[in-house]
């Protein structure tokens, strides 16, 4: 699809009415497959001829329906996503794919599946470890999904269509990297809020439209003059999935730039590509299990503990250096076991690099904004004083 409106304008449209494009495509006869988390192998969905759609929550909307079926001890983001789904916000979905990402996602698969009753649902039983035997098993898991989705599509998903989809998604990621890279300059050419909105928008559209939209956004942003003015602290945000721009805006409104992240959607999922391999499943398996560095995946320890920390968190150190980060905000949701247990280790790792860290626990709700603002402002003052 040729994008008619300006890139950022279209981004705003898709963010304001999230799912609007998927709804249109559904009206045109396309099938939409929803998914939670960056671990849904979107290439396989694209190769099947379906539109992969990332289900998101809403920090603005109180959770009013989810609790009838889902415990309140579930990650607040997942609860919010489910709440919107049972309210019919994603009524255009034909299917649902849920990966074994974390307990909150994995343990609610059946709740989603049985409550929504969509024509298609599939659980991707991704192993937790990144070692070679896990990789081999994960390939069989991906092939089970490929076969299952092919059955739903009424045709086998061929190697050629899968390779084509992998190339498309790699191109999409390259565009994201190009756009996110525009945050390297000081001040950055694109704000953290703008980037967050662009990444949210593309979660809801087909990959070919995303490539086009990102191209337009880059064309719009790149010519911006690198303005001079008051220096602001350059912040990196580290956390799980942040599918809302409110927190990023809060940081920037408090007098900083968000120039880097280790988030989804964000560098975590858009930095690693899938290699083009003879068996396309091989490249996909390696990307999702070994290249994406998420707290949910256990990295096998091969060296000393400091080397192990470097293996787990070295990419964060890389971003701190590449994007000249002044301070890191660890933004962790309540009830998030994978990221929550990492806080002492990752905090001390980042601090060992000489970079100050602010750790915040939040609940995926705008109701906490006042408290967060106070903490962020104090942190920025601390950075300014250095």
């Amino acid at each position: 699809m040729k994008v008619e409106a300006g890139g950022m304008a279209l981004v705003d449209k898709y963010c304001q009415d999230y799912g609007s494009r998927a709804r249109e495509l559904k009206g045109q006869g396309r099938k939409i497959i929803g998914g939670l988390c960056a671990y849904v192998p979107v290439e396989i969905i694209t190769a099947a001829g379906f539109v992969p759609f990332r289900i998101k929550g809403s920090v603005s909307e109180p959770i009013t329906r989810a609790d009838v079926e889902m415990e309140t001890i579930v990650c607040p983001l997942v609860r919010s996503c489910f709440d919107l789904a049972v309210k019919g916000r994603y009524e255009f979905l034909d299917g649902l794919v849920i990966p074994h990402a974390c307990d909150s996602i994995c343990r609610t698969y059946d709740v989603w599946k049985y409550t929504l009753g969509l024509p298609y649902s599939h659980f991707i039983n991704m192993p937790h470890s990144d070692n070679d035997t896990s990789l081999e098993f994960y390939k069989t898991v991906l092939n089970t999904f490929r076969k299952s989705l092919g059955k739903f599509a009424g045709r086998e998903i061929s190697d050629d269509s899968l390779l084509q989809a992998i190339k498309q998604h790699n191109e999409n990621r390259a565009r994201v990297r190009q756009l996110a890279g525009l945050r390297r300059s000081d001040p950055p050419l694109i704000s953290g809020e703008e980037l967050a909105r662009a990444l949210i928008a593309i979660m809801s559209i087909p990959v070919e439209e995303s490539i086009s939209l990102l191209g337009d956004v880059i064309a719009e942003v790149k010519p911006r003059a690198s303005a001079t003015g008051v220096e602001k602290p350059r912040i990196m945000v580290v956390g799980a999935q942040l599918d809302d721009d409110t927190f990023i805006r809060l940081i920037e409104d408090s007098g900083a730039w968000v120039v880097a992240d280790d988030l989804c959607p964000g560098t975590r999922e858009f930095w690693p590509d899938a290699d083009i391999t003879a068996d396309p499943i091989d490249g996909l398996a390696e990307r999702y299990l070994q290249k994406i560095k998420c707290a949910r995946t256990y990295r096998e320890q091969k060296g000393t503990y400091p080397e192990y920390l470097e293996e787990r968190f070295g990419h964060i150190g890389g971003f701190i250096r590449d994007f000249a980060v002044d301070g890191v905000i660890l933004y962790i949701y309540k009830y998030c076991d994978p990221f929550g247990f990492e806080v002492p280790a990752v905090k001390s790792y980042i601090e060992s690099l000489g970079t100050p860290v602010l750790y915040l626990e939040d609940e995926y709700s705008k109701s906490t904004i006042g408290r967060l603002r106070t903490r962020v402002q104090a942190f920025l003052e601390l950075l300014g004083a250095k």
Binding site: V68, E69, M70, E71, I73, V74, H100, C102, D103, S104, C106, R107, T108, Y109, D110, V111, Y114, T115, S121, H122, F123, N125, P127, H128, S129, N131, T133, S134, E136, F137, T140, V141, T144, K147, S148, F152, A295, R296, Y298, E300, Q301, Y305, P306, Y308, I332, K334, Y335, C336, D337, P338, G340, F341, E342, V343, P344, A345, K347, S348, Y359, E361
Partner: protein
């Protein structure tokens, strides 16, 4: 200061069976064995229950320290708070698994003291291990994050993460289509564990011994199944309160003769009680199923409170992680590799109700299990517990109850809310008021049924 806090006085709980009454001293001896083993130079492994490595560590003469058990003991003694607060001071959220927080708080404190136990550590404390054996499976995130987090305080202790997935229940394919892949993977993971242990503990696997222990575990599974099936009797001779004691030999002594012998004695005792028509309580009015959730270890007397209202729990899903192996659709005799044997046992445990589930439209294996127990044990109502800090065992309970009522029948249910060891989440008056109301409902339903 947390050091100055004294635990609240603990209430003694009455057990129905003599076997369950012996578990406290067994647990104490099991824990005391760990520092003794350490002193004798035997390797210690931080371990989790239900991770299929019981026989492996036993065959290699590695002593397990069951971290969940120790946290549970701290909770039962109402002395977990100071360790939870210590973990919180380390920036570990109080919303995370409180077993893990308790353990991590303890480890952080002990290492800060240069290896000395924190003051008045319950039952001698937990010693620094030589290895930590985590587990990544479809069951529990903290099991593959806890020990990684513990390395922050013990960077010289290596960890292994054992993956033990089982095929999910799906309508569009049969699990048998993929079961070989799962078993192959689990065997590779178990073999990796053996190599890891040999590398880090200087112990060699005794494969003949392993086969013997696998066989012992098989026999123990069958025996536990048969003993628990005796609880179908009316009046039931044993309730869930006791099962929260007998989970110690079930979960922490699997693959040992002591564990087997315990269940033989329990089996005999239950048979004798049945012969004497001796129930948990003299006048059994309501038979309840503990349908999900770990218990509040600091409030096990709630089971006695149920008893005081005429209610008993002949069955529970919690910790009943065994089935009769002879009911599985597999001939274990044809499997010569003990690791493969372990893998198939695990897979068949999780999938054993898949075929039955397909017979009831809209059903699910977890709900089929509830239905099985409701029918087999003549259940009048279902009680569940939602522990706020544990997503692994406590997410999906509401949905299971809803589905049960939709596809089976409307059966009275109660969901209690608290935690496994964080006593600050517990309100005894509120809990008992809810139990009272539930008993009223059960009575009303019984009256209506005539």
């Amino acid at each position: 200061m947390t050091e100055e806090k004294k635990p609240e006085e603990r209430k003694k709980r009455r057990t129905a069976t003599e076997a369950a009454g012996r578990v406290g001293s067994m647990t104490k001896a099991m824990l005391a064995n760990v520092p003794q083993a350490k002193g004798e130079g035997r390797p210690i492994a931080y371990s989790f229950i239900c991770c299929c490595y019981d026989e492996i560590i036993r065959a290699m003469d590695i002593t397990p320290h069951w971290v969940e058990n120790y946290a549970g003991i701290c909770g039962a003694k109402r002395d977990a708070q100071r360790f939870l607060e210590r973990a919180e001071a380390e920036n570990l959220s109080r919303s995370l698994c409180t077993y893990a927080l308790c353990g991590l708080g303890f480890d952080a404190w002990r290492e800060e003291l240069g290896g000395e136990m924190p003051p008045d550590a319950p039952w001698g404390g937990q010693v620094k291990p030589d290895v930590m054996l985590g587990s990544g499976q479809m069951l529990c995130d903290p099991r593959n994050k806890w020990f990684q987090a513990a390395q922050h305080y013990m960077p010289d202790v290596p960890t292994y993460d054992l993956n033990l997935p089982w095929p999910p229940y799906e309508e569009d394919y049969d699990y048998r289509e993929v079961q070989d892949d799962y078993v192959k993977y689990m065997v590779a993971q178990l073999r990796g564990l053996v190599e890891f242990l040999e590398r880090h503990t200087n112990r060699k696997m005794d494969w003949d011994r392993l086969s013997e222990l696998v066989d012992l575990t098989d026999r123990t599974w069958n025996l536990v199944h048969e003993a628990y099936e005796l609880r179908r009797a009316v009046p039931t001779p044993m309730g869930t309160g006791d099962a929260m004691n007998t989970m110690v030999p079930l979960s922490f002594m699997m693959g040992t003769q002591q564990g087997y012998d315990f269940f033989k004695e329990l089996y005999d005792e239950l048979q004798q009680k049945i012969a004497r028509k001796e129930g948990v309580i003299p006048d059994e009015k309501y038979r309840l199923l503990w349908g999900g959730g770990l218990p509040s270890w600091f409030a096990l007397t709630d089971f006695n409170y149920f008893n005081s209202k005429g209610a008993v729990f002949p069955a529970e899903t919690t910790y009943r992680m065994v089935e009769a192996l002879y009911n599985f659709d597999i001939d274990f005799a044809r499997i010569t590799d003990p690791l493969e044997h372990i893998a198939w046992r695990w897979l068949k445990f999780w999938t054993c109700r898949y075929d039955k589930t397909r017979q009831r439209p809209g059903s699910h294996p977890d709900v089929e299990r509830l239905i099985d127990y409701i029918e087999d044990y003549q259940i009048d109502g279902v009680v569940m517990h939602e522990a706020f800090s544990c997503r692994s065992w406590h997410v999906g309970l509401i949905w299971q109850l809803n589905l049960l009522k939709k596809i089976y029948r409307d059966i009275p249910s109660l969901v209690l809310e608290s935690d496994i060891i964080d006593i600050s989440s517990y309100n005894e008056a509120d809990t008992r008021a809810r139990i009272d109301a539930f008993i009223d409902t059960l009575e009303a339903v019984k009256s209506r049924a005539g």
